[in-house]
Structures are given as structure tokens and as C-alpha cells.
Symmetry: C2
Subunit: 376 residues, 2 copies
């Protein structure tokens, strides 16, 4: 196999050649007009994808850095209610513990969130709510709009992790009342790993903590972004900004609505295959919760050994994900994020179908053809 | 001018083509063996450049992130004595203020540090000392070894910013007793901006704070680096790691001693030109302090307007730096960092000499030929 493996993971994802190519450029001075216009292009496109007119900054650090920036700048010494139904919700809880008085409102991974318990926490004085919109660890999409309504009702700040939904699914930060929202570069944006972005509403600015971290001090980001040519407070990861700008240009060219529709179709194709095979999607959904459109989590059938199964898929040049933490060996996950299309999905589902058979599971029907029926 | 400008700044610096080229690669899974070996190559070479056998981690964030990691993990609620004779010493002081009880031991920028005052602070119970080894804002190299001896005498931790000296000048972290040392990627390593590295001595590990930040939690870095294939705790900036590995390979090929000698020669060439022109180096040095070998700060002669002068140099395709903060308009700075050699220095000094003349200063002699005499 001479090609790089095809990454059908819930991030990192394949990066279009023109996005990678711009990183070949010689270093530029990040205190000049050109860098300022690169940064401005990124924020313009990202604001559209976030559904916000608020301030938005790009951070040289991964999504976790942006999650921490959200909590550290606005949650210090506050009561924080953390909605948890997967690994990343738990991460936001663990970050919140380092800065405020954090309480988890936890459901089993991949099951609906307890919004009744959230309302109780808000009644009891929670000043901030954290939510992972699209929980890839369990393949579930959480009800951001409903959480936003509750947060507003009790005048709490709403911090939303949109790391794996923004630019791949519908996100309306302003309409939902999401005050601080973050995204990562290596997911639906289809840019290289290493950058994140964060939006900050006026309501959040009014409540910014006096005591803030240094590298992630969002007041410093605001000041530098307000310079004549947009700047970052500290040295930015210049090649990654160039790549992110190119990825944003691709998003503009495709059109955000088209891009979201494409993600939805790809996820529908995966679900059609799962259904045809006689397997089950892992998450337990209801009227408020949905299967993720960017990462499908599928229950591994009895008797199929995860390492052997994904090992076979990998031998065909394709990487899919297993479960994380206690879901290891219980699920497999297929990313439908970023720049991928029908060829990548068909190849992936073919390799999965073959590997399931080889590992002792006899699919009920032909999932590949079922998926083709959705894609064609 | 079709080429990119030649960046003769105290970072960012020109990046060799083979370092940039590796970033063109398709995304790889950062939880796999290949990424682990990339990370291991980086740490092996960087440990040599740091002069340390301690643990060393690469952080997806710029030098400031690593500075904060040093202070936040080891300085929380401690008494911190911060040596300051330039902008970056001041930055370490400002970071230290956010975590501990920090006192500046300040000299005028570009003048010797007050080691007598440092010893008083240590006698009075300072538990940590911060030092910028090579202060590019003022072009001065500070006496790290002497600071280390004092820190050890009073059993204080020694945090050293080696951002602009490591891999360009002699650094011996272990020999000097520097417990926590940081470097940035876009300086003497000649890699793209966006990564930093940090070493941690056993003495420092013994004193790690219970309450740490999340993204910069060095205990999490240690745990992930100890995995079968080296990992980072959160998503790393993969293209920058690939580039840093390539930059490290170049350092190994050149040989660290040769590389340091080259930096010294280039700085000597700049000083010879300054001397021939009848100008003065900006820093005030003594037996303990030296001119920086990686960034030369030169006093701008009376009557020469900084913006006009550097504007002319830039018209010839070369960017040099001015002064920062209160040194704006008073000095200019030439970086001699990373992958540059005689051609870049000769071009830069020629453009500087011409621009000084055009701006009304008549050089006493031919600095370009004086520099050539050093380089030839």
C-alpha cells in the first residue's frame, strides 16, 4: 500500500491537496498586513459556520485549548453545570473542575441528556452550562437549542463545544443563545490539526473573569485582533493559519448549506448500510437527540473482535475508529467529516462489510448497495 | 519582487524547503506508531540542544505557551523572583504574577541583570527564579550559569527561557541546573512557528503543583509520552511536528557544535559591520553578559527615522526588526538564526548600509567588507 491510509475517523480527516499545499510557503512575518488578511478571512467564514455575529478568534492550539479558554475566561469561581453523555462532555467537566465549582449532569454515554436535572441545577444557581453539541465518542447529537433556552431562562452563560459539528451540521450559535462556542480545525473544516476557534458573545464579555490564564487570555486576543492588521497576542502557527484560510475558501466555494447537506447524506448512507447489515446504531436517541451527522457509532456485533476487525479494514488502507475508554471493543465509529464524498464512503463500507464477514458476522443484507442507494 | 521577503528577524526565520515540504503530506493518525516515532525523533535531538537528559515534551502552542506551562505547573502559589532586562523577561514576570507571588528584579532593557538583588530575593525566600537566557528585545545574552548556581544555593527552582538561544548558542540545562527550560520552533531550530518544547528536571517534578491548567498540564504530557508509541495528551499540530522532525534532522546532519559556531560567526560579522559603520551595539555588556549570538540590537544613529530606514531595507526584499515598546525608533535588530548563512548576512548588511546612507547617516567605513572579512 503506497498511499497514505484513508482516515475515516471522527478527526483527523483527509485534507484537500490545495489546503496542504499552501503550507509549503516560506515563513511570513505574522505582524504584517498579509497575515492580518489571512486571519480576517478565517474569522469571516467561521462566523458564518458558527452562526454568530460575535467576536471570533483563532487559537494556536487544539480544540481542548479552546475548551479550556472558554471555561478559564468565563467560568472561574462560578457554579458550572456540565452536561455529560460522552468522553468530550466529561472532558469539559474535568476542565471546569479546575476553574469553578463544577457538577456533572451525567447520562450513560450515547444516551439522552437529562434536561430536567439541568433545570434543577440552574434553579439551584448554576451560572454556566457546558454542552458538547456533537458527541463523537458516542455518535450522538445533543439538543443545543433546548439547552440554550434553559440557560437563558436562568441567565446562565452557555458554553458549547461545536468541535465536530461546525461546518458539517447546522449550528446557530446566536439563535441558540450559545455564548461561547468552539471548533477544532481537523474535523469538518478539513484543515490540519493544531488550530481551534472560539466565539464570544457580548453577554460573555460582560462576565469575563478578572483572573485569567496568559496564553489563553481572550481579552488579549480581542485587543490584538483589533489592531489595524488583525494579529494574535502571541506567535501564531502560521502554516496552519494559511491552511485554515484555504479550507475556509473551499467552504465558501461549496456553500455552507451544500456542505451540511453532503455531510447528512454521507451519514444517512452509513446508517442505511448499518440497517441492511442488521446491526444497530449505538446511541439511544429520542425526539431531542439524534444520530450524529459527522460520526456514526455502531454497536459491534457479538463475537467480532474489535482489533481483528479494524485491523482487516486497515489492511485495505482505511482507518476507522474503535470505542474510547469503556466503549473500547463495544463499538466502531466511522467519520463522515470534511472533504470526503461518495467514493470514500463506498470504499469504507465495502471494507467494513468484508471485514465483518471475515470476523464471523454474517450481514443480513448488502449494506454497500443500500448505501449506494442513498448516495446515487 | 516576486520572492517572499528574506526574514532577518529575531524569529520567524526562513525555513529550509525540505522542512516546509513535509507539511504537504496527507493527515496521519496522531495515535499511531508513525507519529510516535516523529515525536521521539524531535525529543531526542532537542534534548541534545537543551543539554539535558531530563524529560522533554513538545507543546502545540508557541513559546509563550511553554513559558506559561513552566510557571503554571511549578510556580503556583510560590514566591517567584523574575529577572528582567527586556520584553521577554517582563513577559515571564507577567505570567508569574498570574500564578504566584512574583517580584521583578528589573534592570533597564539591554543592561546587566542585578545578581546581588537576586541573591537577596533568594535569601528572603524566593522559591523559583525565572530568566530569559537570550533576550532578543535588547540583543543581550544573560548569565544563565551564574543564575543557576544561585538558584541551587538556595534550593530554588530555575526556569529558563531558552527560546532564542537553544540550537543557536551553547545551552547546558543540566550543567547549569536549569530545571525547566523552554524553546520555540521558529527561532534557531528554523522550523515553522506554532510549536514549543519544554524540559522538566526531577527536582521540578518533585515540586509540581497539585492544581494545574488542563491543556498545559505537564503531568498529562508525561503520561501520554510514556505510552508505547509516544503521544500527546491532546490533538497535536501534526504538520508542525513533521516539520520540526525534519528541522531536527538537519540539526543532526550539521552537528550542533557546527551550528552554534555558524551562529557565532554570523553575529560576529554583524558586529564587525556595526563597528566599521561607527555605530554602537545597543546592549551594555560586562564580564557576565554578552551580545546575543542570535539577534544583534544596534542603536539607531541620531536623525535616522526607523520607519523610513527599515522601509528602504524592506524595498530590497529584506525584513529586519525595529525596537519593541519603548525601544521603538531607538534600535534596529538583525536576526542571525536558524538556516541563514553568509549570503543572507551580506545581502542584509548591504541593504542596511545603503539605507543608512539614504536616510542621512554617513557610515564611517564599509561595514559590508568588514563583515565579509569575518565570513570569508
Amino acid at each position: 500500500m503506497e498511499n497514505e491510509p484513508l482516515l475515516m475517523l471522527p478527526g483527523p480527516v483527509p485534507i484537500p491537496e490545495r489546503v496542504r499545499a499552501v503550507m509549503m510557503r516560506q515563513a511570513i512575518n505574522h505582524r504584517g498586513d498579509e497575515f492580518g488578511s489571512v486571519y480576517a478571512d478565517c474569522t469571516r467564514v467561521l462566523k458564518t459556520a458558527f452562526g454568530t455575529a460575535s467576536d471570533l478568534f483563532v487559537i494556536s492550539g487544539s480544540g481542548t485549548a479552546a475548551m479550556e479558554a472558554a471555561v478559564a475566561n468565563f467560568g472561574r469561581e462560578r457554579k458550572i453545570a456540565c452536561l455529560v453523555n460522552g468522553k468530550f462532555g466529561d472532558r469539559l467537566f474535568r476542565i471546569s473542575q479546575r476553574y469553578g465549582s463544577a457538577s456533572p449532569i451525567a447520562s450513560e454515554w450515547g444516551t439522552p441528556l437529562d434536561l430536567v436535572a439541568l433545570e434543577s441545577a440552574l434553579e439551584s444557581g448554576a451560572e454556566m452550562v457546558t454542552l458538547v453539541h456533537n458527541e463523537t465518542s458516542a455518535g450522538i447529537r445533543n439538543p443545543a437549542e433546548k439547552v440554550g433556552i434553559l440557560a437563558r431562562k436562568y441567565d446562565a452563560l452557555f458554553v458549547m463545544d461545536g468541535i465536530t459539528s461546525i461546518a458539517g451540521d447546522e449550528v446557530y450559535a446566536d439563535k441558540w443563545g450559545a455564548d461561547v462556542v468552539v471548533v477544532g480545525s481537523q474535523k469538518c473544516l478539513a484543515a490540519p490539526a493544531g488550530l481551534s476557534a472560539i466565539s464570544v458573545s457580548d453577554r460573555a464579555w460582560e462576565r469575563i473573569a478578572d483572573h485569567r490564564p496568559f496564553y489563553l487570555d481572550l481579552a488579549a486576543y480581542r485587543k490584538s485582533a483589533g489592531a489595524k492588521a488583525m494579529q494574535t497576542p502571541y506567535t501564531p502557527a502560521v502554516p496552519l493559519f494559511l491552511a485554515l484560510r484555504e479550507a475556509c475558501m473551499i467552504i465558501e466555494e461549496e456553500g455552507l448549506d451544500n456542505r451540511i447537506a453532503r455531510h447528512r447524506t454521507l451519514a444517512n448512507a452509513v446508517r442505511a448500510a448499518v440497517d441492511a447489515w442488521g446491526l444497530s446504531m449505538f446511541p439511544e436517541i429520542d425526539a431531542d437527540h439524534a444520530y450524529s451527522n459527522t460520526a456514526s457509532a455502531v454497536s459491534l456485533p457479538e463475537g467480532v473482535l474489535d482489533s481483528a476487525f479494524r485491523g482487516l479494514v486497515k489492511e485495505m488502507g482505511i482507518e476507522i475508529a474503535g470505542g474510547q475508554d469503556h466503549l473500547k471493543g463495544r463499538i466502531f465509529r466511522i467519520g463522515t467529516m470534511g472533504a470526503v464524498g461518495a467514493p470514500e464512503i463506498l470504499a469504507t463500507l465495502s471494507a467494513v462489510q468484508y471485514s465483518l464477514q471475515r470476523c464471523g458476522y454474517t450481514p443480513a443484507g448488502d449494506g454497500v448497495m443500500a448505501a449506494a442507494g442513498v448516495l446515487g
